[in-house]
């Protein structure tokens, strides 16, 4: 840290300005994510939207057009006269909710399985590796389609269907960490002192998985949000009363020639979110990940 400060002091002003600019640029993803989180949490309190209520007098309005009720549809309306901006706000909530739940479920399950298999090795480890081989033979989205499509439509089913494959990367990464940590001196020391295996796992091995798991969680969050939107786009998983970006994009497909904004804008919102998480995930992986992922 000190080295980099002294180095930047002797650098010419142009370079310094450039690194300062880059530092600001690297913070943009945080700002974008904060906005999405704020919209997801507070948006529905400020914006009123009922997906079942239709307003045929105001259908297919352009962004910025005036509603017959006197308001303004800032991002236009869809084929049933429903406001696109409100759909973006409520869709953000759905995406964030499903994304966070799925990542939490799969991180907990994956870490528990991975750490246990990596620490104890033996037959447990073999079973895990073969189980992962089997799951990896299915494209993740296909497995999610089959699982989500087989059950009643609900948020819980979608979370379950997405977690069915999302836990794998957590298990792999934490298994690797546990494999290397179990050979370290303090684990040996604890073992010799007669510390129970459960406590060794929790106190001496588990903490070392935190960094990689956080880095992975951001990347998985992006994948999960994309997969959820994909499922909703295909009309599988979420009940029709839920608002989802994927669903709005699918609804807009038939009006593409006349109303591009119905499909276009939710896709932009989704892409911006995924790009931001991707950049953030890369930063986190560079900081915590790779070195310990072996």
């Amino acid at each position: 840290m000190t080295a980099s400060i002294t180095a930047s002091a002797v650098r010419p002003a142009v370079v310094r300005r450039r690194t300062a600019a880059r530092r600001w640029l690297s913070r943009i993803p945080y700002a974008v994510l904060a906005i999405y989180a704020a919209v997801a949490v507070a948006g529905p309190l400020l914006v009123d939207y009922n997906p079942i209520q239709t307003d045929l007098a105001n259908r297919l309005l352009k962004p910025g057009a005036h509603l017959s009720s006197g308001g303004t549809a800032w991002l236009g309306t869809d084929g049933l006269g429903r406001d696109i901006f409100a759909q973006l706000v409520y869709g953000a909530r759905t995406s964030v909710l499903i994304g966070v739940s799925t990542v939490v479920v799969s991180a907990v399950v994956g870490t528990a399985i991975g750490v246990t298999a990596g620490y104890f090795r033996g037959w447990l480890d073999t079973v895990l590796s073969r189980g992962i081989d089997i799951l990896l033979a299915f494209p993740a989205i296909l497995l999610a389609i089959v699982i989500a499509g087989s059950f009643e439509r609900s948020v819980v089913v979608v979370v379950g269907a997405l977690s069915a494959t999302a836990w794998i990367s957590f298990a792999r990464v934490t298994r690797g960490t546990a494999l290397s940590v179990r050979e370290r001196a303090w684990v040996d020391a604890a073992r010799v002192l007669g510390v129970k295996r459960r406590f060794i796992l929790i106190r001496h091995v588990l903490p070392f998985t935190a960094g990689p798991v956080v880095a992975l969680a951001t990347l998985e969050f992006a994948l999960v949000v994309l997969a959820e939107a994909g499922l909703s786009f295909l009309g599988i998983g979420l009940p029709p009363s839920a608002v989802s970006w994927g669903q709005t994009i699918a609804n807009g497909k038939q009006y593409l020639a006349t109303a591009w904004w119905i499909s276009g804008l939710p896709g932009l919102a989704l892409s911006l979110l995924i790009v931001s998480i991707g950049i953030l995930g890369d930063q986190l992986t560079a900081r915590f990940g790779r070195g310990q992922l072996r």
Binding site: A137, P139, A140, L142, S271, I274
Partner: protein
């Protein structure tokens, strides 16, 4: 070598058994009785009972499982109630369209990805490198179903140069293939870039330059060669992702492949087709992973030596 192949094949058989079992579990755990689904909710109870017996669904679970495994080995998944014919026959009929789409996408992704990766990796840190690196992050982030719709908007509706959906002419293939190829192109480009950038530090690149070869000769003749190995592997390993992408992209463009079939069957609860298609896809993905493993070890003598030892 033969030993390695045999070992991998055995693991493959194990994976397929697991895949078949997983499909069995999902379908059995799912709510809804297949006989009622086939006959409709208004069917008389004795008819439902009769069909349940014909389908063998009244037998104990372990027996059902064993006879299911016996059928799977012969690729028999029962008749589709939607199409009134063996489910596997329906899946096989849709396979060529999916294969065509995937082949076209892979070709586009490999050529475009290699070119972009070479341009970016040839001069790490350069302007082109930064543009390509930034662009590939974006390409990997855009949801394919959305890029597909945007491409329809631009090329089919605004410019009117390509058809928006369906099949028949080569022109119909262009938009779906590009849509499916975009994220994969980014993957190949990033991989090639890293690999080329690393190779540029090698001694033999310096030798090539000092011989007076042009930069293009150095890149194509020396740097690219070594970068091909990871690319070949990633093609095999990405078959799963590509298959999953195809499921979504086919639905955007109404492409009559396995992907549209799966979504149709799931929506109509035509479980025999869902099982057949899922099993076949798993088999194909596994075969490609296996092939990637073997080709990889053949391409790189260093790994060949290691596995022989």
């Amino acid at each position: 070598m033969i030993r390695v192949v045999v070992k991998r094949l055995l693991v493959g058989v194990l994976v397929m058994w697991g895949a078949a079992s997983l499909i069995f579990v999902i379908v059995r755990v799912a709510p809804g009785d297949p006989a009622t689904l086939m006959l409709g909710p208004d069917a008389p109870p004795d008819q439902v009972r009769e069909l349940t017996a014909t389908l063998g669904l009244d037998r104990p679970m372990p027996l059902q499982y064993l006879s299911y495994l016996g059928d799977v080995v012969q690729l028999r998944f029962g008749d589709s109630y939607l199409f009134n014919r063996p489910a596997m026959a329906e899946v096989f009929e849709r396979m060529p369209a999916t294969a065509e789409l995937m082949l076209a996408s892979t070709t586009i992704a490999v050529i475009a990805g290699l070119a972009l990766g070479l341009l970016a990796g040839g001069r790490p840190g350069g302007l082109l490198d930064r543009v390509v690196s930034g662009g590939t992050i974006a390409l990997q982030s855009f949801p394919t179903f959305w890029t597909g719709i945007m491409l329809i908007l631009i090329f089919a509706l605004a410019l009117r140069v390509l058809p928006s959906a369906g099949t028949g002419t080569p022109a119909h293939l262009v938009l779906p293939a590009i849509t499916l190829a975009l994220p994969f192109t980014a993957t190949v480009a990033r991989l090639t870039r890293t690999s080329v950038a690393e190779t540029m530090h090698e001694q033999y690149i310096r030798t090539a330059r000092s011989k007076g070869l042009t930069e293009r000769q150095v890149l194509l003749g020396h740097a690219l060669r070594n970068s091909l190995i990871p690319v070949v592997t990633i093609i095999g390993l990405h078959m799963g992702g590509l298959m999953g992408g195809a499921v979504v992209v086919e639905n955007v463009f109404a492409w009559p492949g396995v992907g549209t079939l799966v979504v149709e069957s799931v929506a109509n609860r035509d479980y025999t087709v869902v099982q057949a298609a899922t099993f076949l896809v798993a088999g194909i993905v596994m075969a490609f992973n296996l092939a990637a493993d073997l080709v990889y070890s053949q391409l790189d003598p260093r790994i060949r030596m290691e596995s022989a030892a």
